[in-house]
């Protein structure tokens, strides 16, 4: 019985590792987007500079290709969604249908103790899972605020699972912006998986 369980575990782990390695290795290959005219896009906003830089990028991107757009910011961030709304208001109406603004629970507030952070992080992950299942974006844009960690984690898991309709087409862009150097290690790790540098 024990032998059976151990063999099962070894096989499952090996398959999982192989799958993860495959997903990572395929990550920089260009997608053939022949069928779709537009791709639903999730934009992750972080405090201050992150949002400013993301809006700066969005302002030079083709709005009809990246639509509908879903903006996500942390629940305690009052400015970012406001800035996104102002940005969307300035755009023409084309592609504005279906634009949505959402908030996600923060994994950890500045100054929060690490013990309670475990609980809030799990909450954030659960919320991210819920939002991702609801939206199922084709493209995820983020530039490294803490808000994007649960979202990218869930997205990456979806990609590894590749259940049809669940993330098999998803592309995650973690952009190294002007202050890339100061990002945390886990972001750097994620960034090394799928990064497009400017």
């Amino acid at each position: 019985m024990a032998v059976f369980v151990s063999v099962f575990l070894v096989i499952t782990t090996t398959l999982l590792v192989a799958r993860i390695v495959y997903v990572i290795s395929q990550s920089s290959k260009p997608n053939r987007n022949t069928s779709q005219k537009h791709l639903s896009t999730l934009v992750v906003l972080g405090s201050g500079g992150h949002t400013a830089e993301m809006i700066n990028l969005l302002s030079v991107m083709q709005k009809d290709w990246y639509a509908p757009r879903y903006y996500i910011a942390a629940a305690t961030d009052n400015m970012s969604l406001q800035k996104a709304r102002v940005f969307e208001d300035i755009l023409d109406d084309k592609g504005a249908d279906g634009t949505q603004f959402m908030q996600i629970y923060r994994s950890r507030e500045v100054g929060q103790s690490y013990i309670t952070s475990v609980g809030t992080t799990l909450l954030a992950l659960g919320h991210a899972l819920w939002l991702m299942v609801k939206i199922r974006p084709h493209v995820i844009l983020c530039n490294g605020p803490g808000t994007c960690i649960p979202i990218c984690a869930i997205a990456f898991i979806f990609k590894c699972m590749e259940t049809s309709g669940f993330g098999d087409q998803m592309v995650i862009y973690i952009l190294c912006g002007e202050y890339c150097k100061s990002q945390k290690t886990i972001i750097e790790w994620l960034a090394s998986l799928q990064t497009t540098h400017g």
Binding site: T34, T51, A52, L57, V110, V171, E178, Y179, G198
Partner: protein, 180 residues
């Protein structure tokens, strides 16, 4: 130099901002006699403090005949762009939004790092930009020193904002959209 013909021209405003944070140690330091003296000596006339969520309240002052600094403060503003534009010197907390907004306006900037924050990726950013000579960097305790001895606007290298177009093109190409 008293009695100015052109009031606007002789005004040299120092604008202090803490963004949406609480940064009492910076506001206290800026409101101290030593720092105000140091700013006066450098030729500044007005001090405007955006104090955010802090609890320390600075002392307002209308300046006056003794030539002291005119001091005013407020908590928040929906946009500090106008304050930044009219400033001759900006002293800011290390938030990247405030930093880049100031740099884009090409204003001399002293960034003060808040050591009470647990994770300090903010200080890394400030130090990196200071190394590239885009701004001056310090802590509340060293602010007076920075103003007195290091504040030399001639060594500042203007900041060139990054162009997002190459990034957009790369993403488009990667996703299979037609290259522009």
């Amino acid at each position: 130099m008293d009695n100015v013909n052109n009031d606007f021209e002789s005004k040299r405003i120092v604008f202090v901002t803490v963004g949406t944070t609480s940064f009492d140690s910076l506001v206290k330091t800026v409101d101290s006699d030593q720092v105000k003296e140091a700013l006066l000596e450098k030729g500044y006339t007005h001090l405007v403090i955006q104090m955010g969520r802090g609890s320390y309240i600075p002392k307002k002052s209308s300046g006056g005949e003794d030539g002291s600094l005119v001091v005013d403060y407020f908590t928040f503003s929906s946009s500090i762009a106008d304050y930044l534009r009219s400033a001759s010197l900006v002293i800011s907390h290390a938030g990247s939004g405030s930093i880049f907004e100031t740099l884009r306006l090409a204003k001399p900037l002293i960034v003060v790092v808040n050591e009470d924050l647990m994770d300090n990726h903010q200080s890394e950013l400030a130090e990196e930009l200071a190394e590239r000579k885009h701004l001056f960097c310090g802590r509340p305790q060293t602010l007076c020193e920075v103003i007195k001895s290091s504040l030399n606007v001639d060594i500042i290298v203007p900041y060139e904002p990054g162009d997002a177009n190459p990034v957009a093109k790369l993403i488009n190409k990667h996703l299979g959209f037609p290259a522009d």
